[in-house]
Symmetry: D2
């Protein structure tokens, strides 16, 4: 489904800017994930057991998906809703579907 | 499936130590992933468009899964095979199944 | 996330009834999937090779997800959009998020 | 990853034939899944609410994955183990990895 690839930078902005609190909450989660990725590097350097590393990778995946889900939720409640109210709903929904499809691949 | 939770540190070691080349290859990928996670932090700080951030999160997920798959492959070809040859195969296979299940959740 | 369980029958209806053509297209896919499930039963009865059966199960999963994705797309373009236009958007979006979460588990 | 496509019929057999009890247990699950697929067809014919249908599709996916996981577990404990003990381990492990990859796509 190559036609479904989304651009890296759309040049768009969130319909409602994120508050400082919202930004900080996401940043805290991402910093924790960054720390987890560094933790795995240390495990590889120490030649730690493969399954132990895999367990950590699966934990990072879950943490990342949680961040993604929260962004998706906010996006739908603000950007998609806003677009629909302004009459550009179909475009926003198509974009939403493409990004969902990208996650399921 | 709480009974399926694996310990964070099993105290075990890979059946065959990773070579320096192998370690370096995994570390390079993990460093790139770490950079991608930092890139998302910057996107959040700059209040970038939600879907653009989601596309990056999905890319990190794929990159992490690739690292995980390679570790899994090596683990099965060495640790699981080794355990089976030494007569401890069932335990190693059960552990493998648990970690697969953790990834699919 | 037990609070996220959706009811088996909400008693609701699609905002825009499915046309006969739409129904038939979904039914055709589902009948093909039903045939594939029966095909796997035959494979089990004939004691066919495990990996061959797994390949078929993975094919059914993909076919089912395709049906699901199409329903989701239609649902968002009609029911969710319609609810937003009528001022009940947040409820419809929450419901959408719950069902997405159910798929990712 | 087209090179990773597995054949529909490998002509191989399980290392240890499934007992009648094992076959029956898998068949019972598959018959239940077949019934669920028919249930969705009825829901589509009755123009039932999209989200209600999606919930059912997600349930079938989970049930199918459970059957798949059990087959995978048995396959690894018998066929893969057997191949390793007979010295054909690497081929069996490669095949296992390919089928895992097919499920994650």
């Amino acid at each position: 489904m190559t036609e479904h690839i989304l651009p890296e930078d759309s040049g768009k902005k969130p319909a409602k800017p994120r508050t400082d609190e919202e930004k900080q909450a996401v940043l805290n989660r991402l910093k924790r994930i960054e720390g987890q990725v560094r933790g795995i590097q240390k495990m590889v350097e120490e030649d730690r057991y493969c399954v132990d590393i895999l367990v950590q990778i699966s934990a990072i995946n879950k943490a990342l998906n949680k961040v993604g889900f929260n962004l998706l939720e906010r996006h739908t409640h603000h950007c998609v809703k806003d677009a629909i109210q302004k009459g550009n709903g179909d475009e926003a929904i198509d974009e939403l579907m493409k990004v969902l499809q990208q996650f399921s691949k």
